[in-house]
């Protein structure tokens, strides 16, 4: 599994993912809703499915494209990990800054 970020960093592909979040759709409907040409949509869908973000399911004569939860989860987990790392750093930095300001005797009334 690779290229998740680059797959989603393209605005049209991001739009497709947003659209498919509501429900799975065939290529024609996606093209119609996003006012894109069908070959263009097919190309984007191929990139998205290679990145593991989208999967296709044949229904009757149609191929229905939907989101693939596992692929999105991987990216989401990574961003969450990245957010958590920086979040923890900043929370600890908050503490350091508060201590430094107390040492300086900032008259804010919070001194212990």
């Amino acid at each position: 599994m690779n290229a998740t970020f680059s797959a989603l960093a393209e605005p049209n592909r991001l739009q497709i993912v947003e659209l498919l979040r509501h429900r799975p759709l065939p290529v024609g409907r996606i093209a119609e809703r996003l006012r894109m040409r069908q070959p263009q949509v097919s190309k984007h869908l191929r990139v998205l499915s290679e990145a593991g973000l989208v999967q296709v399911r044949p229904v009757a004569q149609q191929r229905i494209y939907g989101l693939r939860a596992e692929g999105l989860k991987e990216l989401d987990d990574w961003l969450e990990g990245y957010r958590r790392l920086w979040g923890e750093r900043f929370e600890q930095l908050d503490d350091v800054l508060r201590d430094l300001q107390q040492e300086k005797g900032k008259p804010d009334g919070h001194r212990k």
């Binding site: 998740t4 960093a9 991001l14 947003e18 990574w78 990990g81 990245y82 929370e91 800054l97």
Partner: protein, 166 residues
């Protein structure tokens, strides 16, 4: 802010090689700058909470090297290193960032401090050498919480989309 973010931390996916973080800190800029460059102070906040952080080198000047280690309770450690490219107190630091077990995958972190009413807005621009490097980070096995639903997808999409409205 259009997007709601926990603890005011905003992450924006600027492009497929670049992430941007912003966070407000309740202290004047010179103090934040000091906390970001003083080895004793850095050791108190730079690592994830469950690790102890050791600052081996912090030669804060253009061309100077830095090296820090995050040490786990079981003794396992992760070492990071890099070089200062810019050092402009109290407003800007640019350094390279490399995880030692993955040599050659070097990203550039630009930290900018802006003071407003005694508070400081810190922005960190994390620029990866290639989209493969950024994708590589996604696959590098950063810890994950098991979630099967799309519950955070809204937030994820907002982050990805922020670049378009910026």
């Amino acid at each position: 802010m259009a997007t709601a973010n926990r603890s005011d931390l905003t992450i924006t996916v600027v492009s497929d090689t670049e992430l941007l973080l912003t966070r407000e800190l309740d202290a004047p800029r010179d103090l934040v700058f000091k906390a970001m460059t003083d080895p004793t102070l850095l050791a108190r906040w730079w690592g994830p909470r469950k690790y102890r952080t050791v600052v081996d080198t912090m030669d804060a000047r253009p061309g100077g090297k830095w090296r820090m280690r995050n040490i786990a309770a079981d003794g396992g450690e992760h070492a990071f290193r890099g070089e200062f490219r810019e050092f402009v107190p109290p407003e800007r630091i640019v350094w390279t960032f490399e995880y030692e077990p993955l040599p050659g995958h070097i990203s550039v972190e630009t930290m900018t401090l802006t003071e407003r009413d005694g508070r400081t807005l810190l922005t960190v621009r994390d620029q990866f050498a290639s989209k493969e490097d950024l994708d590589g980070m996604v696959n590098s096995g950063m810890e994950s919480g098991a979630r099967e639903s799309y519950e955070r997808l809204e937030e994820l999409l907002a982050e990805l989309k922020a670049k378009k409205t910026a």
